[in-house]
Symmetry: C2
Subunit: 721 residues, 2 copies
């Protein structure tokens, strides 16, 4: 059903040129409000009220069949009665009359309809059908649609709150430099409300709902080019065009603009929720993650964390090595808990320079003149200067990327807190201030806020936000390697010769060999007797496998035997294997036996490729066994991928120490693994839409310099397109 | 240095009987305040002030050499001038004069000295020496000491704030049912201040600092037996007596009283911080974790989370299956993010009963009549009843263990929020209310607080707390299995025959065999020729190993060869092995060659035992390779341990699917693994302090019913005690 929705929404191809740009939609000169009312208890009433209250400078046209004037604006019985077609119309009318209203708007020349009303694709088949009719209108006329099932947008610098949420019932809108695009309207206004308390403002807040016409990337692309937008936050339930998102993210990276994303549908439960909320198909989380890592996009799990990290990044655009934190606390309990938590989330306490320690030791007891600093243990009498000076000295250390002021309720009095705040601001680095709430702490919290600080309630909160900042800093520092086609690969047209369906192991190995991978030597035999004969031509022990394209998991049906040490064992094994498979799978077509040399190595690696609906061919590399299959410790990248990038991804796996030779083991030939994966990624690329999946399992990897050899593989192809 | 501190503090053995009970220390009839002052800018001034302000009903004796009266209380020039020896004296005098003051107190008959002053063991060797003298006084006289480097305690029901923190400058102390014991004073008062904002009160708040005399377990044991203490929270930097803690935790479990612990020193950075803060030795985190899991102790990572979870558990003492959550949200963005996060932290969305869905469908659109409930999508007009009714229906479902009301700023108006709050309270289950802050949301937040709710700022916060509650519920439901000594084990006295130092593999295997483990058959040979001869008596292929107690990691020096398929290969391998080892390790004593049968199985398991300083013998079980060595995915238990407990711990490993037969693999013989581990744990127990470490690596495990066989092992023993 959801496939159908996407198809009707986006699949029809022929469409009229857009009437209006995204820039104009966000900065309209005129707005028509359907269902306008004097009553702020109604959607249309609040919209008029907020437009007026926040001083929208363009024309406001209330649409109301009865009233002559609403909230001081001349009202019109229908949109076509308005003096000139408005740039934007916002509609919260009932779903039943929506199509008529939108049709009239389209015919009259309205630039864009923002549809608040719910009950469309997210509510089932009937709603999806109604939504499809709206989209058809947009495509035919070039009028754009935002929504349905959205909450409109907020553009503070344009003095425009085109949104009905009570959150906008404030004196100011809170201008800022963060662009926020959210499928969920509720989430947008909740984030907006909370950020306001923190003193964080937005350049744009856009809610998209069902994304029937305009979608996340339309606004993302605009904000990337908008010089006043310094960081971009997205809340995504379903991505409509993965390739477009990837291109936009790459552009954002080039522009040096932080992009942070909260995407739901990371778990099965989240996939179901996204579908019922905005009729969104969540897509594969692991692939989305890989695209984001590739392009330096930060993945958040909490919307407020995302916005706070964006705020820090917008304030501190400089490049940092990333990950090294200095903590200043008012309590030894604070320094102890902080030390553990910093390390547990994968960050590090910055190792201070000798000069820094020396300076700190002038005012603090020796064990406290370290990182974290415990201001509780002073040698000189308590006063304001110590707090400010210690802060200044600690955060100025060149090894410190970020600072945390962890001010528990006691013993931090107001003046000292403000001295710390002032010194911390002067250091010019991303610093977060934690001041746990409570009656004793609240005056200090309020004063810190007044001087521009976002005050965090807990160390956990602050650390989560800094971890996002560190993610950005680390990812942006990573070079993006482009893969160039290795010399000697076959022409991709040659792949047309391969028939559709599952391939035999021998076929897969032949294909891999043609792409330059080393594969284990084997011989095909048609009977147990000829298999035994073929084995004598190799070095014992040998491996024996049944050849059949109907058996995908050979070892599960006893169709693989390893370590056969002489001719007699091969004969016996082949005879038994044939009998067993005939009994278990009488319909399986058996093409013979494959006798293979035994490949010895240090580890087994799996290389897999498949085609993702959103992003195209992807490649996965992981250790065989528990790491890949149970723990999901796998490197994932878009294909084709450069060997250098595979290497850096392997270095980030949890199993990385095994590749690098942990605990007296030899170093694996990671270069050979990466080379093999790059070649397989080109094969995936060349197969194009014919690829269903292909897996090298295992690739036997030898110690560094020894190479890597494919000993088994499987693949399934689709028909020619 | 820290070892010395612990020794002088606790190691002297002979000590006078305690003068005063913990109960009396926490409920003194009289208190002397050294350094008492009229000025609240001074420690002693604030203590007198807070004692008076909160209505302490016992006698208050200010000690001040100059003043005749302080804050309305008759002052005394020294403690020995007080009419009767006070139960408790609190001292914030300078470290230099501390010993004299404490000596006078001890001689006069004071029950307990609470020492606030810092600069003792946590500050270095000189301070440690001073602390040792204080402790010597306590041990000789029976007077007790709390601290030094503490902040005293708070006992609201006794109207006593024996603490100088400005946090106590409040109208009420906030009586409650949670007992809090914290090494850090700053953490105690910060937690206290914040909890007060939440409406959470304490039965006791005790800070211990350096634990020079009275330590965590003294107060823990008291609170376990105190019927009004319903849940206990501990903040620990260093445990002084692991065995005592384990016994107390077991008693707490029997008493059905939730015990929650935040322990620092989980990471290397945390270990360093704990040492410099309260001179504490952190101990092994993995072993502490194992003890806590065994005894149903909940491990927290944030102090406020710990207290909030304790509050929920104290309010809802009933037993629950645990782990299944229902979420009610005001936004589809909320339900989507909630769905992902609940799953990601290892909890589950409760699957609703048919009747519940049916009831919800009367008021909500079909996709919202599920778990999570999205109150945004209603079919009937927005009103108060729907919100309350949906809450009541959802949380009443028997599949629901816990509820989360996730009320983002919009569109929840005050009345609806309160209706949800009321309905949620009526369900009688642990429910948390999230209402993200902001100008629009704050009135609802305040009203919720007034009706007794702890209002969470973010879903993350609430989920972390529920995860702790779920931990408790799951752990308490687990039976504790006691291991009884398996029949046929040797007398532990027989182990006296084993000499100290590293044992050879053959010796370890013989020892394991005597404890009833299956071991691989082998033969000892003194030369390559006799090794080849011995091999012919076994089935090929065979394994060849060099026998030497000087080589711990045989495979790293090429002293192991597997898969030798005939006599010639054995001869060649043994010859080469001898040459290689002679070249690489000329000093290693070589006792010969071991020829072993090849054991085939489905997986390799490691069983290790070692002796922990705090807790005695411990046993560890994990899969060989990456799982254990790189990922630390290991079951850890105190020895001896019952096989049934090992099995339930294996089921909780990340690698558990591999034991249970994931992805077409056979089920492993977990019973055989558990039996082997239980026997090894008895061996560890019997070895007592002679055990350094012993490792079975690998134990080859066959499919279910096929058993498990030791193929290699190593051990090191200490001299007889």
């Amino acid at each position: 059903m959801t496939d159908m929705i996407l198809h009707t929404a986006h699949g029809s191809g022929r469409r009229a040129a857009p009437r209006i740009s995204i820039e104009r939609i966000l900065h309209p000169r005129s707005v028509a409000v359907f269902g306008a009312s004097e009553s702020v208890a109604k959607f249309g009433g609040r919209i008029i009220h907020f437009l007026t209250r926040h001083g929208f400078a363009g024309d406001i046209y209330p649409i109301n069949p009865i009233r002559a004037e609403i909230a001081g604006h001349k009202a019109y019985p229908r949109v076509s009665a308005v003096p000139a077609a408005p740039d934007v119309a916002i509609l919260a009318v009932p779903a039943e009359s929506m199509l008529d209203s939108v049709r009239e708007a389209a015919e009259f020349g309205v630039g864009c309809c923002v549809i608040i009303t719910t009950g469309f694709a997210e509510a089932g088949a009937a709603g999806a059908e109604q939504q499809a009719q709206l989209v058809e209108l947009a495509e035919r006329t070039g009028m754009r649609i935002v929504g349905p099932n959205c909450m409109g947008f907020i553009v503070p610098h344009h003095r425009m709150a085109l949104c009905s949420s009570v959150v906008l019932n404030t004196d100011t809108l809170g201008d800022g430099s963060i662009g926020l695009v959210s499928q969920s309207g509720g989430l947008m206004v909740s984030v907006f409300d909370r950020a306001k308390t923190d003193g964080i403002g937005f350049r744009y807040g856009v809610s998209l709902g069902n994304q029937s016409d305009l979608e996340t990337c339309d606004f993302l692309e605009f904000m990337i080019e908008d010089p006043e937008t310094k960081a971009i936050c997205l809340y995504i339930e379903g991505l409509l065009d993965g390739a477009r998102f990837r291109r936009a993210a790459a552009r954002c990276r080039e522009a040096g603009k932080p992009l942070l994303v909260l995407k739901t549908g990371r778990t099965e439960a989240g996939v179901v929720a996204a579908r019922s909320h905005t009729a969104s198909l969540a897509g594969s989380w692991e692939v989305f993650t890989a695209v984001c890592r590739e392009q330096g996009v930060v993945l958040a799990r909490d919307p407020d964390d995302m916005v706070r990290a964006a705020h820090l990044l917008a304030q501190h655009p400089g490049e940092r090595r990333g990950g090294r934190i200095a903590v200043l606390s008012s309590s030894g309990g604070g320094t102890s808990t902080a030390s553990d938590r910093v390390t547990e989330v994968g960050l590090a306490l910055a190792p201070l320079q000798e000069a820094t320690r020396h300076e700190l030791e002038k005012m603090l007891l020796p064990p406290q003149a370290a990182n974290p600093v415990d201001l509780g243990g002073r040698i000189v009498p308590a006063d304001v200067e110590i707090a400010g000076d210690a802060t200044r000295i600690l955060f100025a250390d060149p090894a410190v990327d970020y600072g945390i002021g962890f001010l528990m309720s006691m013993p931090f009095y107001l003046k000292r807190t403000l001295a710390i705040g002032e010194a911390a601001r002067d250091c010019g680095k991303p610093v977060v201030m934690v001041c746990t709430p409570g009656a004793a702490a609240d005056p200090a919290r309020q004063e810190l806020r007044k001087t521009g600080w976002v005050v965090y309630d807990s160390f956990e909160q602050a650390l989560r936000v800094l971890a996002l900042v560190a993610d950005y800093d680390r990812l942006r520092g990573r070079p993006v390697e482009k893969s160039s086609r290795p010399a000697g690969l076959p022409q991709s047209e040659s792949l047309r010769a391969w028939r559709a369906g599952p391939q035999t192991e021998r076929e897969v190995k032949a294909l891999l060999a043609s792409y330059g991978l080393a594969v284990a030597r084997d011989a095909l035999a048609t009977s147990p007797e000829t298999a035994a004969e073929a084995a004598t031509a190799m070095a014992f022990p040998v491996v024996l496998k049944l050849v059949s394209r109907d058996i995908v998991h050979k070892s599960e049906v006893g169709a693989v035997r390893v370590g056969l040490i002489d001719k007699a064992e091969v004969l016996a094994a082949a005879t038994e294997m044939r009998q067993r498979v005939r009994a278990a799978l009488p319909d399986a077509r058996v093409e013979g036996f494959s006798v293979q040399e035994t490949i010895r190595g240090e580890a087994e690696v799996i290389i897999g490729v498949r085609r993702d609906e959103q992003f195209g061919p992807i490649v996965m590399v992981g250790l065989g066994g528990i790491a890949t299959e149970i723990l999901g410790d796998v490197a994932v990248a878009m294909a084709p991928v450069a060997a250098a990038q595979i290497r850096s991804m392997i270095a980030e796996l949890r199993a990385a120490p095994l590749f690098a030779g942990a605990r007296g083991r030899p170093r694996l030939d990671v270069a050979a693994i990466a080379d093999a994966a790059e070649r397989v990624s080109w094969l995936a690329h060349d197969l194009g839409p014919r690829l269903t999946d292909l897996e090298v399992n295992p690739l036997i990897v030898r110690r560094e310099g020894g190479g890597a050899v494919v000993v088994d593989g499987r693949a399934t192809f689709k028909d020619q397109a």
